[in-house]
């Protein structure tokens, strides 16, 4: 088994353990509902002001499920609408990491 295929297997196991169903509304193209995605959050890069209260949130989705994500695509989870603001391609686990911001 190739290394890439092994990581793809690992990615599938991560999704089986941590993914939740969301609704994916692309700017163009058909809605994907449900889509399995894994939420993650960490500190955002430092910003003005005394504190460090900005957060960086992202959804990870399988590349096989979302072939061509675009900035502005919307992920709906638990009635929160997240807009994609940054797209990182992860070849190691065959995923997209979609940085998002709340749209309302």
């Amino acid at each position: 088994m190739s290394l890439g295929a092994q990581f793809d297997t690992a990615g599938a196991e991560i999704f089986a353990a941590f993914a939740v169903p969301v609704r994916y509304e692309p700017v163009t193209g058909p809605v994907i509902d449900p889509l399995l995605a894994v939420f993650g959050q960490e500190a955002a890069p430092t910003f003005d002001g005394p504190g460090a209260t900005t957060r960086h949130s992202h959804w990870r989705v399988r590349r096989s499920a979302v072939t061509n994500p675009k900035r502005g695509d919307v992920i709906v989870a638990s009635a929160v609408r997240w807009a994609v603001i940054d797209i990182t391609r992860h070849d190691d686990v065959a995923e997209w990491e979609l940085a998002v911001e709340v749209t309302t």
Binding site: A44, F47, D48, G49, G51, T53, T54, R55, H56
Partner: protein, 142 residues
């Protein structure tokens, strides 16, 4: 006896808190704002610019930080520009109202966007120089 600089700061507080649309104003904040739009003012200290026989003249540096958090870059930026304008009007407008204050100069303006944050947050930092003088040896008497 109240220091002249404190009299000026009290006026700064009132002027900035009264900017239309400001949800929270704080002087010398030690944490990030939690309510938006927010305005924070910071005391950058002062330097003596002139010493006369009976008077000491100062330049006090005041930095005003404005924070806006709302979806969409253009809307947040427009709100930030509006609050910046309000801050300049409020502080420069203190000249002639406060007898302690001789001049307020507007300085640099810096705009920043919180990178990769999950709430669109923009900040503006605007510098001001406050010129005032007190009796020599007594900063509480004009």
């Amino acid at each position: 006896m109240t220091a002249v600089r404190e009299t000026i700061w009290a006026a700064v507080d009132a002027a900035l808190a009264a900017i239309p649309g400001v949800a929270k104003y704080e002087r010398c904040a030690s944490g990030d704002p939690a309510d938006f739009p927010a305005v924070q003012a910071h005391d950058g200290g002062q330097v003596v610019t002139e010493g006369e026989a009976g008077r000491t003249r100062y330049r006090m540096d005041v930095s005003v930080e404005i924070f806006v958090q709302s979806p969409g870059g253009a809307a947040a930026h427009a709100a930030l520009n509006e609050l910046y304008s309000g801050a300049v009007t409020a502080l420069v407008g203190l000249v002639g109202v406060l007898p302690e204050l001789e001049e307020v100069e507007e300085g640099d303006l810096r705009i920043a966007v919180a990178p990769l944050a999950d709430r669109r947050r923009l900040a503006a930092a605007c510098d001001f120089a406050f010129h005032f003088s007190t009796r020599r040896g007594d900063p509480s008497v004009i």
